[in-house]
């Protein structure tokens, strides 16, 4: 075991996969000599060279579109979108092409590629360096969407994503890059896609979360534990495919479900979770399936007071837990 930050675990996952499989290549803006603006690819260019670590022009659609082509021709590209906020120029390539090539050719063409993108707020990133964009992509059959919350998972899920034969969007919370540390085994391991993890056992309320909201949710659970509210925290890890069994198993046990997500609330990913729980665990519920999420403004403001207003926090989540537990 070694203690690693989230970003170190991602870097380790990338370099180990590149050593293991010569078809893995990395493409993106500033990923070469500089090692990426967050240093996720630091050292890769020195080790693997120009052919496998490619500094691209500032053209997101091209980063994704050529990665699709390279995947069709036998490579496993890992594309980096510098910030999730700037993934939208590539939306057409992701949704119309990467997600549909397999379906529209009856499995004749496959697109084994990963798109890594740092997402999330609370980092003074303002409207265009703070967004959560997962809901745009979890809506799309043919895509897989992964959000790690621990260094162990980040490395293990990234490895599984690279080895997966379908396009995977891999969203990394910027605020967790260096603030979260954890044990990572030295040897080879993977974390499968489509399996949630129960981070805290509890009997009264199920809190469903992913990414930074897992850490906030665990803190909130501690805050209310002293008041006698026993919270179970489910970390989805993989948003699509979704681990329904773990999700529904937990809610059937506790009878109450709160979904926490950082994105604005209306039409967010947590709305789908709420709908699934309402449909499939209705007989077990003794309170309304609830959401605690970002406010419905177009994006996160910069000023620190306004940013705090937008962001969820352990305290806001704890309040929502108390309201639900009161049923």
């Amino acid at each position: 075991m070694t203690t690693r930050t989230l970003i170190e675990a991602i870097r380790d996952g990338l370099s180990e996969e590149m050593r293991r499989d010569p078809t893995v290549v990395v493409m993106g803006e500033d990923v070469g000599k500089k090692g990426g603006v967050f240093l996720a690819t630091d050292g890769l260019w020195a080790e693997f060279g120009d052919n496998r670590v490619i500094d691209t022009p500032l053209t997101e659609s091209m980063i994704v579109g050529t990665s699709i082509g390279a995947a069709l021709n036998g490579l496993r590209p890992v594309a980096e979108i510098q910030f999730a906020d700037f993934i939208h120029p590539a939306f057409n390539q992701i949704v119309s092409e990467a997600a549909r090539l397999r379906y529209r050719t009856q499995g004749g063409f496959a697109v084994p590629m990963v798109i890594r993108a740092p997402y999330g707020g609370g980092v003074h990133g303002a409207l265009y360096h703070s967004q959560s964009v997962e809901a745009f992509f979890t809506h799309v059959p043919g895509l897989k969407v992964v959000v790690p919350s621990t260094p162990y998972d980040a490395k293990g899920l990234l490895r599984s994503s690279i080895r997966d034969d379908d396009p995977v969007l891999f969203f990394e919370h910027k605020r967790m890059y260096r603030s979260v540390r954890g044990d990572v085994p030295d040897g080879e391991y993977t974390v499968p896609l489509g399996r949630a993890a129960i981070r805290r056992q509890g009997r009264q309320v199920t809190l469903v979360a992913y990414g930074l909201m897992v850490a906030f949710g665990l803190e909130a659970a501690e805050q209310v534990a002293g008041e006698g509210i026993d919270v179970e925290v489910v970390d989805l890890r993989s948003l699509r495919p979704l681990d329904r069994e773990t999700l529904l198993g937990s809610v059937r046990k506790t009878g109450k479900c709160l979904v926490a997500y950082e994105d604005n609330r209306f039409g967010g990913y947590g709305a789908e979770i709420a709908a699934i729980v309402a449909e499939e665990a209705f007989d077990f519920l003794d309170g309304p399936v609830s959401r605690i999420a970002g406010p419905d403004v177009p994006a996160m403001p910069y000023n620190h007071v306004l940013e705090d207003w937008f962001m969820l926090s352990p305290a806001k989540i704890a309040d929502a837990i108390r309201r639900l537990a009161a049923y």
């Binding site: 069709l72 120029p89 379906y103 004749g108 034969d165």
Partner: protein
């Protein structure tokens, strides 16, 4: 006539020699154009007969398509075509049956199993990238394929093909820039028929020739007359040689004419004058190529008669065969969303396999 031991005719008329080809090559190219036209015309007949709800046509583009596809190595090089690429796909190895199965959208349609609109051909084994409807996306796939060839140390060439209207999309700028920076083995073919549905070229392009934009990327831009099959062949051959030998991309613009409406859902007399349509018909590559081959003594009455017979029976066979094939079972419509079963969502309650999860692809 010079016939070799294996029965191949290596006769070389001055016309064939001018392009470094044999007479047999010219006849095979002509046959591809004839076959393409015959299949295409049959598709419209099927449409009018109520048997095929949608047709999109390559009529008028065939000369450029056959000439530009001919220098490529089938199944080794790659093409990322568009919905008018019927002749290109025939020249790249698809069969009349393959095209008709797509037209009827049957389960055995090799391109998509009837999932896509007609004209959206594709085949992994033939290296024909599945045609998509959003225009111009394929340029980036072709550039990525070229990048992968380079990284793997292979010398395959990759070609993207689209119309002049589509060439205005941002992906074209992004793709040409990247391909040029890395001198990738890539060719962009623009089939300029003067219209994007109803919008004439002067309202969609700020310049007269798309090829003139090539200089902005530091790559050669070549203009060819799409009725001059051999000029197209030479332009294609030069671009392929340049790409394969590390000389980088080329943009080739073929001036063609659209002989039909944009698609079976369009009425082009609403926006094209009789004069304009007549000019288009005067630029039909088929009779022009035919006259050229007859003048050169390559195409004879007997050859024409036997080709016509052969093509009639191929089209007949393909149509009857495809029409008789079964449609896809709705129970298969959940298949191939992901490569493994774990990704799939449960089937809806009214689905034949409700409650079950879709299987991945057959092993």
């Amino acid at each position: 006539m010079t016939v070799t031991g294996d029965g191949r005719n290596t006769a070389t008329s001055p016309l064939a020699a001018s392009a470094g080809l044999t007479d047999d090559d010219l006849l095979a190219m002509y046959r591809t154009v004839l076959l393409s036209r015959a299949i295409d015309e049959r598709m419209w007949v099927l449409n009018r007969a109520g048997k095929a709800p949608f047709v999109i046509s390559g009529q008028g583009h065939e000369g450029a398509q056959v000439g530009l596809a001919w220098p490529l190595r089938r199944g080794y090089d790659w093409i990322a075509p568009f919905y008018r690429s019927i002749t290109t796909c025939l020249a790249f190895g698809m069969t009349a049956r393959d095209l008709m199965l797509a037209q009827f959208a049957k389960a055995s349609d090799v391109s998509s199993g009837g999932r896509q609109m007609p004209g959206h051909y594709g085949s992994m084994e033939r290296h024909i990238v599945s045609v998509s409807s959003p225009v111009a996306t394929q340029i980036l796939h072709a550039v990525g394929i070229a990048l992968a060839s380079r990284i793997k140390g292979e010398d395959a060439v990759s070609v993207a093909i689209m119309g002049e209207g589509s060439s205005n999309q941002g992906d074209v700028h992004e793709g040409l820039n990247f391909a040029a920076i890395h001198r990738l083995p890539f060719i962009l073919v623009i089939e300029n028929n003067g219209y994007a549905i109803s919008v004439p070229a002067e309202k969609e392009l700020s310049v007269k020739d798309v090829a003139s934009r090539a200089s902005g990327y530091g790559v050669p831009g070549v203009i060819v007359d799409g009725t001059d099959v051999l000029a197209c062949y030479r332009a294609g051959r030069d671009a392929v040689e340049r790409a394969r030998s590390g000389g980088g991309p080329t943009l080739i613009e073929a001036k063609v004419t659209r002989l039909t409406a944009h698609s079976s859902d369009d009425q082009q007399t609403k926006y094209r004058s009789e004069d304009d349509l007549a000019q288009g018909r005067a630029h039909d590559p088929l009779p022009i190529f035919r006259e050229q081959l007859r003048d050169a003594g390559v195409l004879t009455d007997e050859l024409e008669a036997s080709m016509a017979d052969e093509i009639r029976s191929i089209v007949e066979d393909a149509t009857t065969f495809a029409e008789g094939e079964p449609d896809a079972e709705p129970s298969t419509a959940l298949d191939h969303v992901y490569g493994d079963a774990t990704g799939a969502e449960p089937a809806p309650p009214w689905h034949p396999s409700a409650g079950a999860r879709s299987e991945g692809p057959a092993a």
